[in-house]
Amino acid sequence: MSTETTDTRQPETLDRVVIRFAGDSGDGMQLTGDRFTDVSAAFGNDLATLPNFPAEIRAPAGTIAGVSSFQIHISDHDIVTPGDVPNVLVAMNPAALRANISDLPVGGTLLVNEDAFDERNLTKVGYESNPLDDGSLSAYRIIQVPMTSITLEACKELGVKPREAERSKNLFALGLVSWMYTRPTKQTIDWIEQKFAAKPMVRDANVAAFKAGYHFGETAELFDHPFEIPPADLEPGRYRNITGNLATAYGLIAASQTSKLPMVYASYPITPASDILHELSKHKNFGIRTLQAEDEIAAVGVAIGAAFAGALGVTATSGPGLDLKSEGIGLAISLELPLIIIDVQRGGPSTGLPTKTEQSDLMLAMYGRHGEAPLPIVSASSSSGCFDAAYEAVRIAVKYRTPVILLTDGYLANGSEPWRLPDVDGLADLTVHFADAPNHGDEFWPYLRDPETLARPWAIPGTPGLQHRVGGLEKQDGTGNVNYDPENHDFMVRIRAEKVARIANDIPPVLVDSDDGARVLVLGWGSTWGAITAGVRRVRARGKPVAHAHLTHLNPFPANLGEVVAGYDRVLVPEMNLGQLSKLVRAAYLVDAESLTKVHGLPFRAAELEAKILEMIDG
């Protein structure tokens, strides 16, 4: 890499760095971050990312509301979070500076596009004086670069209109940062060239800007030397970088293949779940039928119909859509058909904070249907973990003939990390056996259950002699005929609950990562995994014993959870809600699970967990 440059200055080696790119929603910060991520991934660093953008498509230029940022944590060792605070903040304009500077620790590096610090932009965000001059930033290592002008300069020859050229300044920033951290340049240039192949002008401007930024680093005396973050030695294998939504889509495709059930994916667009629809609709050669429904109610209805017909019925949404699917999910519970409902959680209640993350739909997933309507709930703990979580959701759904809710969230969905590719042939076989003959003398009883799983037979249309009708009215166990008998209803309500409860025997016990002498257990679920793990590592680094257990299955709970929580003096449940899992644990095991709650639309910081855990250990 550094061979690529004529630079003589030797890079200094770091074990990790956290960089945050911040600018206007129009400045292309997400693209900049994505590029830096791909290069760093391919380079072999471990990494984690945190995109953060406004709900508006294009919030007003130059305003705080319009600021978009992308934080990336790269390291030479295994890491689990995008980092609490950045070491380097790239601020493309005053708004980006104002919105992010408070996160930059004293001594941190601040890279600014000084061209953007004019009167208008400054006043827009309420700066009386220019912070670049008034000394108010003296606590930081400021690097001012006239990114816009240099970019324009670099593009002059190309005949690009200035307004156009100016748009390439984010690639200048990328080039500069790429030099600072000795990232290979070829991959980025190749990407630009094929991405903008159709628009030669834009392509050339972007390449020019990128190179200009890289060379600026080399030549400018602003930096005494670049830095280097060596590759991390991760588990051997083939890796790729992946976001949670992509991993979810791949997990579904994999399960569709191993179950030999063609997928019918019906969904209504909603942030942050839409990308799953976008991804799946690309892979029609896997036999995936995607339908953009008129609304979420139709989407779940389509998936249910597809399941009855023998397909893998899947629908995904976020909170508001899950509300609307409630009645349909209740029907699927009554029909006892396999169905996958994915909720990519976002900030609520109501429309709330559509582009921010939250864990506040657990109770809705658990209880959001009238009547006694239990169903299994699976959750993902990391972006790449969405693959396994989706696969597990399908496994349970098809084996137990039940709808399953998979909970992910906006942070997992949009964040990314390296993923070690699974061995495709090693995936569990999910083959389904459809009923093909009468099961009760010469009759077919659609509700005659498997004695072990309590699952009912799945007989699909086209199968001669197995014609049957299913519906939402209470039905007689066995025959499935409509039945209003009081005892039968009581029996059915209990057996549907029992069927879900028995899944506890078919899932792994929850693993506890516990130190000897640990008195405090940190119990988490979902995307808090990274922050909790990092927090626990810090506590251990201080030589204090602590235990961490993280749930993938939220209903039913793993069979050993009761023992586990009983085994510690104190149980801490950190959640990005007001304490939903803790309520479930308290009710189930009567242990005084304590909540650490944060509802900021952003993930926890390792430091927050470290502090709380220490307080509990010492306090």
Binding site: G44, P236, G301, I304, G305, A309, R420, G471
Partner: protein, 349 residues
């Protein structure tokens, strides 16, 4: 695995001789004695043996309501789903299994009140569903509230001083929603009922059929003024493709369009046969069908019955299949390993 064959346990659809009984389930029919639903059920069960579709290749999907109990009585596959959602559920069946014969049975409340959105979207998408709406102008199952097809001023449990809601004209709604097949029939004439259902079945695509149905408990005689034997010839306007639109005992009355393209009833004697509108089900433009749908605002005026519109458009699931096949042709059957490795990867030794 992507192809449907894998899901169609029984590809074979060779002609079979079936009888009405083959389509009757063992469930006791639970409508009120005298309910119009009985005659629709009978017509369906008499008709089905004429198609060469085996019972196991048919799926009846319904929502909730008296009408929606229909699937329980058919010895086919069936789903009694939730209120208003049958068109969505049926779309899922059709999407997964284009090889099946999928019917939707609905009531005026189920289809046009809570289910209005799914109905119009399934029609515009032209999903290959046969959608029957039993219109009794009342909510039967919930014991008699007015429905979206009830006339203004109707006194019901929920409108003691008369309903204020201007009703839908279901045929107009369907035509406004791009329906490719629209027809109307009623529960008093099994022959017409069977013919109409037959036509719906022949249509490839979404077929909407309004069936006037008497709810003798909560809205008795709602259609008597036009469907009673003695009134039919004067009050029902049978539509026949290619024929001038006439009715009356001796075809003495007919239908004409005025200079605004509005349909109105005339005496043939006054205008002469040549002035009558010649019915054409196949006009690409739904305007003339729409005009015909406006002839009667309430079932007390001469009302057109039969097929108002029947045009061909690609079916939704057919197009979906086409895209699946093209995709395989273009990029070969999906390869999971290759998919996971798509994009930049790197190896750690």
């Amino acid at each position: 695995m992507a192809d449907d064959a894998s899901l169609a346990p029984n590809g074979d659809t060779t002609a079979v001789t079936l009888t009405r009984k083959d389509f009757q389930s063992d469930q006791e029919v639970r409508w009120c004695p005298g309910c119009g639903d009985y005659s629709i059920l009978a017509a369906m069960q008499f008709l089905l043996p004429d198609f060469d579709v085996k019972p196991e290749n048919m799926v009846f999907v319904s929502g909730i309501g008296c009408a929606a109990r229909f699937p329980y009585y058919m010895n086919t596959y069936g789903i009694h789903s939730i209120h208003g959602r049958a068109p969505a559920v049926a779309t899922g069946v059709a999407l997964a299994r284009p090889d099946l014969d999928v019917w939707v049975i609905s009531g005026d409340g189920d289809a046009l009140s809570i289910g209005g959105n799914h109905l119009i979207h399934s029609l515009r998408r032209n999903v290959n569903l046969k959608i029957l709406m039993f219109n009794n102008q009342i909510y039967g199952l919930t014991k008699g509230q007015y429905s979206p097809t009830s006339e203004v001023g109707k006194v019901t449990k929920s409108s003691p001083f008369g309903s204020l809601d201007h009703p839908f004209n279901p045929i107009s709604v369907a035509l406004g929603a791009e329906a490719s097949f629209v027809a109307r029939t009623h529960d008093m004439d099994r022959k017409h009922l069977m013919e109409t259902l037959h036509r719906a079945h022949e249509h490839k695509g979404a077929a909407f059929v309004e069936v006037y149905q008497n709810c003798n408990v909560f809205n008795d005689g709602a259609f008597a003024a036009i469907t009673a034997k003695e009134h039919r010839s004067d009050m029902l306007i049978p539509l026949e493709h290619g024929q001038p639109i006439r009715f009356g005992a001796d075809g003495e009355r007919g239908v004409m369009l005025n200079e605004y393209g509005e349909a109105h009833v005339v005496d043939v004697a006054d205008v002469g046969v040549d002035a009558l509108l010649v019915h054409d089900e196949h006009r690409p433009d739904p305007s003339v069908a729409f005009s015909l749908s406006r002839l009667a605002d309430t079932p007390t005026e001469p009302t057109p019955i039969g097929v108002l519109r029947d045009v061909q458009r690609p079916t939704y699931e057919g197009e979906v299949q086409r895209q699946l096949v093209t995709a395989v042709e273009r990029s070969g059957p999906g390869d999971l390993g290759a998919l996971l490795e798509s994009g930049a990867t790197w190896d750690v030794a």
